[in-house]
Symmetry: C2
Subunit: 336 residues, 2 copies
DNA sequence: ATTGACTCCCAAAACGTTTTGGGTGATCTT
DNA sequence: AAGATCACCCAAAACGTTTTGGGAGTCAAT
């Protein structure tokens, strides 16, 4: 609406002085500065974002692309995390936006649009794949970014991730200690890093215990995927007595399959993510989650430091996993 | 990266011609146009977004602010809807972003930032309140916007909404026809339009049936809220035999309360939103939802027409509600 | 009276586009 | 052959900011 030019005119000052007054430069007198501030305030002046971006050559924007396929973003946590992230980015003058991927376009296309149009200063990537083309692209362009989840990229990059391997290994060992011998795994798509890592954790524990690693079904990381996977496992000769599920959503789907097939109180089960809804399922879902408070602040801080040019190696956070024991992990004493 | 200037130089053309060639103007020869296109392609040229926005005086951007309080956005549907919306906006050259509200800031502040910084051409509002300050602000600024949900604003504005009143009235009448007499309502916060509307629907049906409207508790639109509300209703002398819940999330919370208090198979219950997870609860959640395919396209279309200046009155869609009958709505034959 | 330091201010350039308002030849009309 | 039409191209202005590189005036020191 109101311009710097209009503002300057109404004050009888030059554009330069008004601009510098508002930016708090010392080379404009305190009196003038205050006068300008008042005028700007009462005129409701906001600098035109495009003009300032064009001039400053920075977008003051960080974007995160939002995968369109459903499953496993843990929306509740995710949104809370993003609010926290936005709050801390704001203190550095950066805005955060989430860009939903239009149908018919890929996440990579979106990254391209943002980066090549110089719309963003940095990006946040979620749901990383083991070989992630978004990561490769951003690395080739030299745009700062932080991922939620690791990748197998040759070049290091900043990330925050939970130690899914250890988490799933531990979870499996806990079942073993409780007497379970037929422990199954409901796995997510193995091109996702997290899903692969979690499966490896389960496998490692099984091998340590001298147990076969055949009770595993891979499915989409959704309730329906978990449901289908559980059905498949229950239709085998040798059904599992315990299930380690890649995500809470899959675990919730599995829960339904268990109810349908055997009444639902003989098989133990654990998920991952600590979705709020887990506390309200029947049985209440035992689960696990990445430790750490205020992840959003961490992401913001990593982003800022990445933008500042710190080396990727010092910007990698691997968080331990903690268990949240509710009811579903001790449904039965296994009859071996 | 590459400029129009660099591109022009490398081609031995003027900036003007290159720009016009890429925009497909007829006053540049087909041969030149093709040559420019090739060069732009191979140089990976993308126009600088800020520069173009500054010049064209339009942001080519539509934003939706994302409420930071949890509950009732129906993330799954919501995200799918946004993808569809983004797809159709893209055909008009518009981008869609979701802006999470930083902690410590209000949704209204965000709107201000977007609008007064001329960052957006239009906005999409979700989770409208009966008296919604965002709506009032956008109306005062004359910025095009569409809401998901109605308001009680004095001036008309474009919206898409489900007819919650009729839906909840019908749902209540269905319970009545099935023999229920003590039909409770778990209500959402009454400053939300949808929550108020749904409660009025339940009330209307109760009055039509000559039943008292006292079995109602208001709570936060989350699982926990539903849980608390159901507990409160079950601790009365005259417990309900059926519950109409404002949202699926509340219904899922209520489900847990029912299980804890009476084993969970004596009280019937219905929610609203058709969250995917409803198919996997125990019992499977009966629910309802707004009719209509591809809501995203509708939103996009309304936005475009609003921007084009069509009057608000012709841009209001009130959709009927359809029932999705699963198991939870017929848990028992009520013993009156 | 000059010099230097200091305070307060400003004109103009620059960021990368799009658009305005022609300009230059070639071809067609009469 | 003069005028009109057409096809193709371009210089310059404009969008609204920030930043550069001073300029004008005042005051103190020499």
């Amino acid at each position: 609406m109101t311009n710097l030019k209009q503002l300057a005119q109404s004050l009888g000052l030059s554009i330069t002085t008004v601009s510098r007054a508002l930016d708090g430069y010392a080379d404009v007198s305190a009196a003038t500065r205050e006068r300008v501030r008042q005028a700007a305030e009462s005129a409701g002046y906001r600098p035109n974002a495009s003009a300032r971006r064009l001039r400053k050559q920075r977008a003051e924007l960080v974007a995160v692309t939002l995968p369109s396929e459903p499953g496993h973003i843990g929306p509740a946590h995710f949104l809370e995390m993003l609010s926290g992230c936005a709050e801390h980015l704001a203190t550095a003058g950066l805005n955060l936006v989430i860009a939903p991927v239009p149908r018919g376009e890929s996440e990579l296309d979106m990254c391209r649009r943002f980066v090549d149009g110089q719309r963003v200063d940095a990006m946040l990537l979620v749901r990383t794949k083991r070989r992630d083309e978004r990561v490769e692209f951003l690395q080739s362009r030299g745009i700062p970014f932080v991922t939620n989840g690791r990748t197998e990229a040759a070049t290091q990059h900043p990330f925050i991730d939970g130690d899914g391997f250890s988490g799933f290994r531990q979870a499996t060992l806990r079942f073993h200690e409780a007497g379970h011998r037929r422990i199954g795994h409901i796995a997510g798509p193995q091109d996702y890093f997290f899903a692969h890592e979690r499966k490896k954790g389960w496998e490692a524990a099984m091998r340590e215990c001298g147990l076969p690693v055949d009770l595993c079904v891979e499915q989409a990381p959704t309730e329906h995927g978990g449901y289908m996977a559980a059905l498949a496992l229950l239709n085998q000769n040798d059904t599992p007595t315990a299930l380690v599920c890649a995500t809470d959503e899959m675990a919730i789907g599995a829960l339904r399959a268990l109810r349908e097939v055997d009444g639902g109180d003989t098989i133990s089960l654990v998920g991952h993510d600590d979705l709020p809804i887990g506390a309200f399922t029947s049985p209440a879902l035992s689960t696990m989650r990445m430790t750490g408070e205020n992840l959003g602040r961490n992401f913001a801080s990593l982003l800022l430091r990445t933008i500042a040019g710190e080396p990727a190696e010092s910007l990698q956070e691997l968080h331990a996993i903690e268990f949240i024991d509710r009811d579903s992990h001790l449904r039965s004493s296994p009859t071996t």
